[in-house]
Amino acid sequence: MRTLFQKKNTSLLLGISLFAVIVLLGLLAPWLAPHNPLQVNLSNRLLSPSGEYPFGTDHLGRCILSRILYGIRTTVSIAFVILGLSLCISLPIGLLTGYFGGRTDHFFMRLMDGTLAFPDFVLTIAIVGILGPGFTNMIIAIVIVRWANYVRLIRGLVLKVSKEDFLITARMSGNSHMRIMRRYILPQIAAPIAVFSTLDIGKIVLLIAGLSFLGLGVQPPTPEWGVMLHDATRYFQLAPHVMIFPGLAIVSFVLSCQLIGDRFKEQNVHVPKEV
């Protein structure tokens, strides 16, 4: 048991460390990046990794390391913005539908069934296709797709908590609905939401990178991992490093989220499986 516990803690520790390092690298990018990530230098195209360019250069002679470091800022911050927006929309809807039920609940559940019937990525591509490629439209599209997952999760958690004795007591004590939701339900469901969010942030990063890879998300010259991968596809035989490093960056970040999320999931029985 002890060995198992240690192993689990190691993966958690690894996940948190990796996550922290990546976020820290992003925050310190202006000081850590050896070059300007936007500086084009056509005479330095597709250089292999070297002392001056530790990760080599891309098709426009830009430093790949610098672009990856600045890419953390773009990719991860967009992911947090999307997460925040999704929660802002989902939290009130999830709380109200779960707490009160009734017609509103039915309406939102059918709406979510409709949203969740389509695979995330396909629906996101369709929405961006309608709205047009770009930074803002990508955020809108991902929020539209992801909010339903959060509503379903929050509603489920609220339904579960609603049956608890302490909540019945709270109702009998004359607390208002608003106060019950704020004081008694929200603290109970906060932890599972946090765990789900941690897991989901990795997924959101994959969606962002996927859309940018398809040319539907972040537009050049903004350093973003998906855009970097997209640019690298034409050079993967000639200069594989152009593709490897942004790929590793995405893998590392998503892995860190998975390691943290998985560990919490094992401890917390309230977190439902991905819907």
């Binding site: 936007l38 005479s43 195209r45 490629p133 010259p221 034409r234």
Partner: protein, 519 residues
């Protein structure tokens, strides 16, 4: 207009001739070759008699009707032929028409080859050619605009008279355009049937989105094709074409991505064939946009384009610097380079622009911010767009790149300032058509919305001038006006690049010569 809808599909320029000649096993036509070469060719011809060739082909035609949007693809398959072809110097030469004569300003007579048969076995005569030309004019806007035909008369079984609505000195070279491919009109009456044309190959099978298979036509009027069968697989992605060539799935890959040329060069089984083209990569200015109505702003962008660096690095030397729409390999492409004008600083300051605290140009609180469109079919254009974006950013100008799938549909809208574009500017070996469709104010294809009365006067004069020398001089004069007004910035005339399997079908040596001589 068909031409406008699919400008980038008119790719490869002169490469079309290469295709036809490669597929038709043209080495047998090389009369000037010495005996040793002829013996060698004969041996190769015998070896290749039953050989098949597979090609990874850039475009994905919707059909095989040459009188529509897919005429270039049919021409490249070696199945179709026109009355006239362009020779090595891009001058009109005899093909299905063996000679021609201008009777007056609006009338031309053409004498046809006598021994030509269509793929369905019928003999080609003046009546069938007339029916084919009338069909192409009815179905293809391009053919209609190029030929300006009023009437076609059959003078004899092998003689035809073409009367034009107005003097059309370019009609002979226009008859080399693939939209005028000669076919047996009766063969198109049955739904789903393939057109019976006159080329060395006939269509065996066309599968949409997959391939076009052509086989040797034994009744061909010229030298028979050396290959028994050719399969053109439609592979629109450059990397996939390259990988198919590397894996040995195909013998030839057209339009190899410039950055992958090194891989082909390094591979001992493969080789690169290249030839200059009559294509021009350019930046279009939207003359209706608030920013680029001002000539000074267009000059700023033009000066920021690092043409030499683009050719050396992005094009890896496979291209020549563009000074005008037409490349210098053409007699009407020898245009004097514009002298360097004022600096960006001087131009923008004179226009009332000021640099803000961030070092960016702004006017009345509005930053100099332009939208640049680019499209994925020619990947090098997107790289160039990023280079230009960076150069302008260094100058203090923000450029937002927008990648679009259908560039022509986007150009028809008004929400753009700059656009990367690519066109075959002299695919008929004559400047008239391009100048008319691209610069006449009434033309739908005038995508820059550029209006210049002096230029239109010169173009109209060119339309009415029959003498070649005078026409060339007028074309140069027109380009001087264009370069002065700067509705477009011309960047590079790219080379056509093929990747081929060495010795696969005895094609390479022949192709090499053809590629070079047809440039």
């Amino acid at each position: 207009m068909n031409y406008k809808k699919k400008p980038f599909s008119l790719s490869f320029g002169i490469m079309v001739v290469c295709f036809m000649l490669v597929l038709a096993g043209c080495s047998a036509n090389a009369a000037s070759e010495n005996n040793a070469a002829a013996a060698n060719n004969a041996a190769t011809a015998s070896e290749n008699a039953n050989k098949k060739l597979t090609m990874a082909y850039t475009w994905n035609p919707a059909g095989v009707d040459p009188h529509g949007d897919d005429s270039w693809d049919v021409m490249r398959s070696g199945a179709g032929e026109t009355l006239i072809k362009l020779n090595e110097q891009l001058q009109p030469a005899a093909w299905l028409a063996k000679e021609w004569k201008q009777e007056d300003a609006n009338t031309w007579t053409l004498k046809l080859e006598n021994n030509v048969t269509f793929h369905d076995g019928k003999k080609m005569d003046a009546e069938s050619v007339k029916a084919s030309l009338l069909r192409s004019i009815a179905n293809s806007h391009l053919a209609k605009d190029l030929l300006l035909v009023k009437d076609i008369e059959v003078l004899a079984p092998d003689e035809l008279k073409i009367i034009t609505t107005q003097p059309n000195s370019a009609i002979i070279s226009s008859l080399a355009d693939p939209s005028t491919i000669i076919l047996d009109v009766d063969s198109m009456k049955e739904a789903g049937s393939y057109p019976a044309m006159t080329g060395a190959f006939k269509i065996k099978q066309f599968t949409k989105d997959v391939s076009l298979v052509v086989e040797r036509y034994d009744g061909y009027w010229g030298q028979p094709a050396k290959l028994k069968e050719v399969t053109m697989k439609f592979v629109t992605d450059g990397n996939t074409r390259l990988m198919a060539l590397q894996a040995g799935e195909v013998d030839v890959a057209t339009d190899i991505p410039i950055d992958s040329i090194e891989l082909v060069e390094k591979d001992s089984k493969l080789e690169v064939l290249s030839a200059p083209s009559v294509r021009t990569h350019m930046v279009l200015f939207n003359m209706n946009s608030a920013l680029f109505k001002e000539k000074a702003n267009r000059e700023v962008v033009d000066q920021a384009i690092p043409r030499e660096a683009i050719i050396e690095s992005v094009m890896r030397g496979y291209g020549t610097k563009a000074k005008s729409p037409f490349p210098e390999i053409l007699p009407f492409g020898k245009v004097a380079e514009q002298a360097a004008g004022e600096t960006t600083e001087q131009l923008l300051t004179a226009g009332g622009w000021q640099k803000n605290a961030a070092g960016m140009w702004e006017k009345e609180g509005k930053p100099f911010e332009a939208t640049l469109l680019t499209f994925p079919h020619r990947p090098e254009l997107s790289v160039m767009a990023e280079v230009i974006q960076n150069q302008l950013l260094n100058e203090g100008i923000t450029v937002k790149i927008r990648k679009v799938e259908n560039i022509d549909a986007e150009l028809a809208k008004s929400d753009w300032d700059l656009a990367m574009y690519s066109m075959l500017t002299a695919h008929t070996g004559d400047p008239q058509y391009f100048l008319n469709i691209f610069y006449q104010s009434a033309s739908e294809s005038n995508v820059s919305h550029y209006v210049s009365k002096p230029l239109e006067t010169v173009i109209n004069k060119l339309n009415d001038t029959p003498a070649t020398e005078a026409r060339n001089a007028l074309a140069i004069q027109a380009q001087d006006i264009i370069n002065e007004d700067l509705p477009q910035s011309f960047i590079v005339h790219p080379d056509n690049v093929f990747g081929v399997r060495k010795g696969g079908n005895g094609l390479c040596s022949a192709s090499d010569r053809i590629l070079l001589c047809d440039s």
